[in-house]
Structures are given as C-alpha cells and as structure tokens.
Homo-oligomer: 400 residues x 2
C-alpha cells in the first residue's frame, strides 16, 4: 500500500477520526475528504444558482447513467449497461420481476440461506403480489450448484455472504444457470469495490448492488442495476416510472419503455446523493482491482493468523481459503454483541450480526497492516480480560 507504484488511494484522502481503526467499510464506507466541497458546490452553484435549469445545465438528468459508468468499470460491465437509482431492495425487485417475465413457464426462484434477508423479503413480496403459483426455494449455499435445475426461472444470489464472507463462484454458477436456461441475478452488495468482478464475462442477465459500502458513496447512496444488453428490450418493467419512459417529457398517457438501460429508471434521481457518490468514485478511477484484491487478501490473512494465535476464544466462521472469501473476516463468539460494543468503545469499529458473529471488513484504501495488528491487540485485551462483561455493553441497540 505504501508502494509508490500503487494504484490505491491513500488513507489520508479519507476523513477518519484520529486513532480509530475502521473495519466496517463493508457496512458504510468513510467520508472521502473532497465530498463536502463537492456537495456544497452542487447545492450552491447548481441548485441555488440554476434552480430548475440544473436538470439540463448541470446534467442532473443524465447522471444516473453517466455516474453509473464509473461503477461499470469496477464490476466488469461496459458503459451504458448500468443505471443508478432507488435502493438495492427496489433493484432486486426490478430484476426478479423482470426475470420471471422472461421465463413465464417456470415458477421457482432459487436462492440460498446466506442471502441478505432483504433479498429474500423482496422475493417473498413479489410472490405474494403475483398470487399463487410461484415458489421461493431457499437452499444451503453449498448446494446451490446442484439445485440449479430446469424448473428454475431465476437464480438470485449474493456473491459474498454478508455474515461469513463466503464467496460464490460467479463464473461457475452463472454458467450453471445458463445451462439450465435459468435467469441469473447477482447481488454485488459486498463485491463492488471489494474484489474484481466480471459481470459481462459471467453472462448473467442482471446484477444489482449498492454504493455506500466499499464505494464510499455515503449513507443512503443510490443502488445500481446492470441488465445484459440483449435482454433489455424483452422486458416490460413492473416499476414503470416516467423516467424509464422513452420520452418522459412528452407526457404521453401510455408507458413506452426506453430502448436502453434507462428503462430501469423509475422516478426522480436523488441528485444530492449522486453528487456525493460521483465525487467518492473519483478515488476509484485509477484503482487496479487485482492489486486491491491482493492487498485485501493479505490483510485478511494477517487478521486470521493473528486472531487465531492471540484470541483462541474466537472461532473463524469465514472460509479459510482466501479464494472462497470476500473482503471481510468473521469470527463467532457467544458474547459477540457485548464484545463488539467493548471493541467499538476502544476505537476498533467492526459490527455484529446475529446470533454470534463479529464481522470485520478489510478495505485496502484506508486500512493497512499496522491497523490490523493494533486491532488484534485491542481485541485480545477485550476478550482475555473479559471486558465485554461490563453491563453497559449488554443493552441491545441497533447496529447496521
């Protein structure tokens, strides 16, 4: 990371409070230092000065597409195959609903029990909406490959498990789906900016993800959706908002979907959030994702090694094989909630996932080997001295 030839941004480009070790960029990335000035300029010079004319003069209307192109490179997709907007849950709904219309004769959505609950909930809601007939089939992550059979309409998987960090084999499972003529949907929430992803090469029909984790777009940053160009025109979107219309400002009485990926736009884009995201993404423009991955793996390996050596009370729940793991490491500990609170109070921020998972994200843009070592020292102190037993750490609050 201190290599002068590195393509990775430097830690000092982020606003991280003195002394804090932030191992939770997989929940919410930190503030890039240039974002406040950029947002302020957007507010004053664009909204304040242009008012309604900002939609044209400041390019607000095109940003869901133009800013998405910055994300496209990071997930191995071509320009103009992604669009930004809404939240990840809404994008999951759009993809799933479209997938089912592409395979009207099939009734099963296949997913796994390691998927993020909101993906499961959105599928359940869609199925309720459609009435009787459809089924959400939830299998164990390790059984997904064999469960992709010819009765499956759509396979909905999150590539990196939010709890364990387990990494699905995207090329292999996408190929299985294609062989079974099932529509493949990848949720890249914990992949985009975490490791190299090759969406186009995988052949999947849809990929969705969020931009507030590894991409540092800020709390509530918009989601993205990729749709394989050859299937776009086959889909009549369920969420048929005016900005997905071929001619939104013709105000026609009937919906006529845009010919491009823009048909997956819905309503008015969140212009202020997009300004923050666009600025955050400037840090990514030169990043070599293979270099990033190499450093990420090294940080994760170091963390596992040092925790296992010094804090044997914790049990690794992430895959030990780096090739099967994303950019996070999770350990189980019975009193994980209280232990995480004690850790946070001591300046090491990770998070807790029920029932007993202590989760740590490793983000080479602003975490280095010295941070890892110091985090383990503090973790050892918390566990070996039973500091988590202090009653103040037991109160269950909301941790995202």
């Amino acid at each position: 990371m201190n290599d002068s030839h590195s393509t990775l941004p430097r830690k000092d480009l982020f606003e991280i409070p003195e002394g804090l070790i932030y191992l939770d960029g997989n929940s919410l990335g930190p503030l890039p230092k240039t974002v406040p000035a950029r947002v302020n300029a957007m507010l004053q010079a664009e909204w304040g000065h242009h008012l309604i004319r900002g939609w044209n003069l400041a390019g607000w209307m095109e940003q869901p597409l133009s800013v998405a192109n910055r994300v496209a490179r990071l997930i191995g997709a071509a320009d103009n195959t992604l669009v930004l907007g809404d939240t990840l849950s809404i994008k999951v709904y759009q993809a799933l609903s479209a997938a089912l219309t592409l395979r009207p004769e099939r009734k099963v959505i296949l997913t796994d029990s390691g998927n993020f609950p909101s993906d499961l909930y959105m599928a359940q809601g869609l199925i309720r909406q459609l009435g009787a007939g459809h089924e959400l089939r939830v299998v164990d992550p390790e059984n997904v490959a064999q469960e992709i059979t010819t009765d499956i309409a759509a396979v909905l998987l999150t590539q990196v498990d939010y709890r364990t960090g387990r990494l699905h084999d995207m090329p292999e499972l996408s190929k299985r789906a294609a062989d079974a003529n099932a529509v493949m949907i990848w949720d890249l929430a914990h992949s985009a900016g975490a490791l190299p992803v090759e969406v186009e090469e995988s052949g999947c029909e849809f990929a969705v993800g969020c931009t507030y984790k590894y991409l540092n777009g800020g709390p509530g940053a918009p989601a993205f959706i990729y749709v394989r160009p050859d299937v776009v025109s086959e889909i009549d979107p369920a969420l048929a908002g005016w900005l997905g219309h071929e001619a939104p400002f013709a105000f026609e009485p009937d919906y006529r979907p845009a010919t491009s990926i823009e048909r997956f736009r819905v309503g008015t884009p969140p212009v202020i959030q997009i300004a923050a995201l666009d600025e955050a993404l400037t840090l990514w423009d030169d990043v070599d994702l293979h270099e990033l991955r190499k450093v990420s793996v090294s940080l994760c390996e170091q963390f596992i090694e040092e925790v296992e050596a010094r804090v044997p009370q914790l049990k690794l729940v992430s895959p030990r094989d780096a090739l099967r793991r994303g950019s996070q490491v999770s350990f189980a500990f019975g009193e994980g909630y209280a232990a995480m609170q004690a850790l946070i109070e001591r300046g090491v921020i990770g998070d807790f996932r029920a029932p007993d998972v202590m989760r740590f994200g490793f983000t080479p843009l602003y975490i280095d080997g010295a941070d890892v070592s110091r985090a383990v020292v503090i973790l050892e102190e918390v566990i070996s001295q039973n500091l988590w037993e202090d009653p103040k750490y037991k109160a269950v609050g909301r941790v995202t």
Copy 2:
C-alpha cells in the same frame, strides 16, 4: 406578505439569484439559505465523525419517520402516520398495490386523464405485473365523481392537475369513494405546501406526495406516503424491504411487517437528502396554511388579471374560480415552448408542458405582488414583440 404578523418566511431566507423571478417552485423549490451548512454538518460531523454509528447516534434510522412528522402537519395528518423514502412513483406503486389487496374482488383502478403520467404508468406496470384481470379506467377529470361506482377497487387521483392547476374536491371525492367502498389514494405532489390539505379528515386510505416542489427539499428529495392507521395492519406490502420488517436487525429469513406505518419503508433511507429536506422544512414549522392560501390566491388572481389585460394572445387554461385551482396558473400559447425559453432568458422562470401550456407557479414564501407585475411586463414584451421567433428558442430540450 410584508405584514409583520405574517407566519410566512421571508424571501431573503432563500437563495434566489439577483433579478430572477422564480415561478417554477412547483417543479423544484429554491435552495433555503441554511441548507448547505446543515448538509455540510451532516457530512462532516455525522458521516465523517460517527461513520456507521451515525445510524444510531445521529438518528438516521428514525428520520424517515421523525422528519415525516413535519410534513404530516402540512397535510392534515397525525404524527406517525407518514413515512419518507423512495420516489413518488414507488410510493404510488405501494399504495395501489396495497389498495388492490384490500379489495381483492374488484378489478378496476379509476383515474383521470389529468393525472401525472408517471401515476398512470405505475398503474399500468402493476396491472401487467398482476397478469390478466385488472383494468385502469381513465376518465375525464370532470367525470370522476360519477364514475366512482361499486366495481372500483381504487381511485387514484392527483389533487392538483400538473398542467392546468385544476383542483379536485378532495373531501367530496373521498366521500364518494368511501360510499362506493372503493379505496381512495390521493397524490399530493402539487398540494403539499401549496394549500391547506386535510388528509385525515378526508378519510382517504392513502396519500402520497413529493417534497422537492413547494416544500423545497432539493432535487431528488424523498417522497412520502400516508396510510390510514386502521388499514396499515391489513396490508402485506408488495415492496417488502428489510426496513419495513418488524425487526430488521434480527435478520430473520421471513418477512414480518412492522406493526406501524414503518411497514411502508423499503430500503436504506437517503440520509443526505433527508438532512437537506429536514432543514428546508424548518421554514414551514410556523406557517399558517390558511394565510399561505390567501396570499397564493391573491398572487394568482393578480397574474390572471394582468396577463389577460396586457397579453391577450395567451388563453387561460386554468380554472378561473380560485376555489377550483391550486397554486399555479397556466396559459395556452401556440408557440409556448419558444416563448417560455425567451422568458427564461429574460429572468422569468416558469415551465412548459406539451403541447402548448405555459405554466407559472406562485409560492408566497418567496414571490410577491411586485414579482408578479414585473413577470407580466416581461411576458408582454416577449409576446407583443414576437421575441420568441428567434430560432435559438425553438430547439427542443428537456424541461422538467
């Protein structure tokens, strides 16, 4: 407006470029001067300093409900009956989808041809999604009352017509819907902050709206949805996102809707947009909506009177009766697009709606009688001297 007892904010609280007369606050409200500092504080002190802890420490998680309470007062709804999030199109979909599940034996959605196209499109998309059987019945605005028959599942109306400003009689039509046992959904896009609205008193089941027009929340500010408290528990939302779950952080595999209005939340809230909106809403806390309406009517009357006296080439398309009009006035003019461009170049910003409507919004928070008179003088100049004939005004661009 200059009355010292006025409850209306002063023009100097908004960032409006010197010399500009902004008659388009019904598309995008101007920037309240305190918004940039508030957003900057949110970015630096909340995101920058708290990082992930902002969800708890800065109250981000509760804001979709707490900030919505500021909007609730403005539309005559009780605290904790509204929630913020997503875009208006998504909120229309939620309301419509819920309405149909409340009346499973009925198959017709009634709306009118003056409704905003995105509302029609979302209804069309939902109907496609549901498969055969449902119908979107579009009638003339003046025939809506008589068309609310007992085969109607849901009535979906925008109270103020986005083109003409025609105001539906909300209490009367809500009563008709209730009498026919149809579910009533009001779109308040051009009502919230434009005139007094009594959602609770109307008895409607749903009301939705946006916050970037009269409420000045900024481009892409989140939408809101009101659900009558007694029907909330009857609805299993179609858009079943994790933040609408009773216990989002329990990460249960099955969706279990929140008991409150929070069941209409979907994904992660747009925290930066909400900070801007919350700050903008502080200007509304003391506003007496009846005073606002009185001034709005007076500005609209003055505009109509002066335009008809000085610019007879323009034909009024808004209702002449102030009681049947929102807070905007529209005139038809064959070359309306070019004329509006010429007007904008001369510092009077209104907007154009196809095919020939020149639309002007009157917002007493920052427009006064002197602005109205000056706008008419410039309009007269553009029309009487045929300034719109300059070819540069003919290029059709996007106008929102």
